[in-house]
Symmetry: C2
Amino acid sequence: MPTRTIGFIGLGAMGGAMAETLIKKQYRVTGYDMRPEAVAHLEKAGGRGASSAEEAARGADMLVMMVVNADQAENVLFDKDALEALKADATVILCSTCAPDRIEAIARRVEKSGRAFVDAPVSGGVTGAKAGTLTIMAAAKNAVFKKAKPVLTAMGSNLFHLGEKPGQGAAMKVVNQLLCGVHIAVAAEGLAFAERAGIDPKLALEVLSGSAAQSWMLKNRGPRMVDYDNVVTSAVDIFVKDLALVLAAGQGAKMGLPLAAVAHQLFLSASGMGHGVEDDSQVIETYRALMKKS
Amino acid sequence: MPTRTIGFIGLGAMGGAMAETLIKKQYRVTGYDMRPEAVAHLEKAGGRGASSAEEAARGADMLVMMVVNADQAENVLFDKDALEALKADATVILCSTCAPDRIEAIARRVEKSGRAFVDAPVSGGVTGAKAGTLTIMAAAKNAVFKKAKPVLTAMGSNLFHLGEKPGQGAAMKVVNQLLCGVHIAVAAEGLAFAERAGIDPKLALEVLSGSAAQSWMLKNRGPRMVDYDNVVTSAVDIFVKDLALVLAAGQGAKMGLPLAAVAHQLFLSASGMGHGVEDDSQVIETYRALMKKS
């Protein structure tokens, strides 16, 4: 019998949209969030609200978690008893972005209880979450992945099975954020240098966007580096956090990541100047602050 | 009367192809290269061979130069008397990749002689040179640019006029190489980390190529990082040289370029391990050398 009863914990912008997508696809979702208004929102969309994590998990076949980080995931599962409330053969799907070694530790504890675990970080933003088109970077034993596949596919049409070892999904997400963060920072480095040389930055962006220097981030963030419209797609502080996670993952794996380390410092400096809540394109302000006025 | 008589100096893989493209478009090209076989090749393609730089320049309306660097350009123009051999109102078009401050100095000396100067570095490789589809990043006074435009367009259908100040074309090329070099190095950093995590690198590349982590270099060089076929599109040592030029340009402009500096060290290390003449994708060997064996 296919999974129909899903507990869902963490109903923020991403989690809420993912839970609603599951409801639209005929899953029975019981959701919990620390913020009662997020639970009320889920109820309006046709889900069932729970007043605790344990209640959301009670008797569910699967528990999907889109909490902020590994600390919250551990708190919900082990301290708030969500794990023990699940069916004895249930599956936990953790979609939060966490360090690979933390995921490994959580997986061990979940599996010790007899439940299965899927490491399943996502990318694609709220738009992808609403449309069910997220990229999901999953790692789980083959049999577990097979069982979870319909639910994963319902949330993300772009599903990858990266390996059998929990933490490999997290590692893939880390690699993804590593490239994204460095691409934004290097677009800023290049466009700031063009400014310094007195080149019209819009023209510089046009040249780069049509050449081998092109990246998705250059095309997406570049226009807001050149001409900031105060729109925030994702904040500078998100990359301060994500690149810190990348570096922690590198340390966990005993691997130096020099470009990620430099990019982290650049986002951190932008945040330190007061640009933390602005669009991440504003990492270019770090370069502008360092340019000799002429 | 439109320009018809062009002197061309530097008939290597790029320069030779550019000169032949001009010949195909009905220009009368007299070419010189230090290697007699390159001159003979131009003659076979319908050009006139010269036995010295001065002879190639003699009486020409325009002199196109695709020499190795600024030192060679100065040597040809000022020591080998190519400049004085040109018509009194001729235009010098320098297509080599040079540091912006070197271009400024060369432009000043050319203009002092009464001739005009176009700073016109190119990108697009031998393929683009043969097809006449190069990207040309030009800087010249408006009137000079207008006069040179037909010849520039003949070589590169993707022509940009970046400013009136010689050196701005060079600066744009520097920015282009900065992004290209860092994109290759960060693709290596990410794919090496995926390897370290035990993720199938081909699958990792597929995930990244379809996400916001995408770049032209990731898609082009990534497959050869994952599975090296000994094909050399551009060598590691080219980026050792180009990123050194980027850093020199930054120093000339008094601007720190931290990501370019780190990327340079990574290519330099790959070269130091003996990978200098291999494809630039092999910068990934720097990361592999630093990974803990497990």
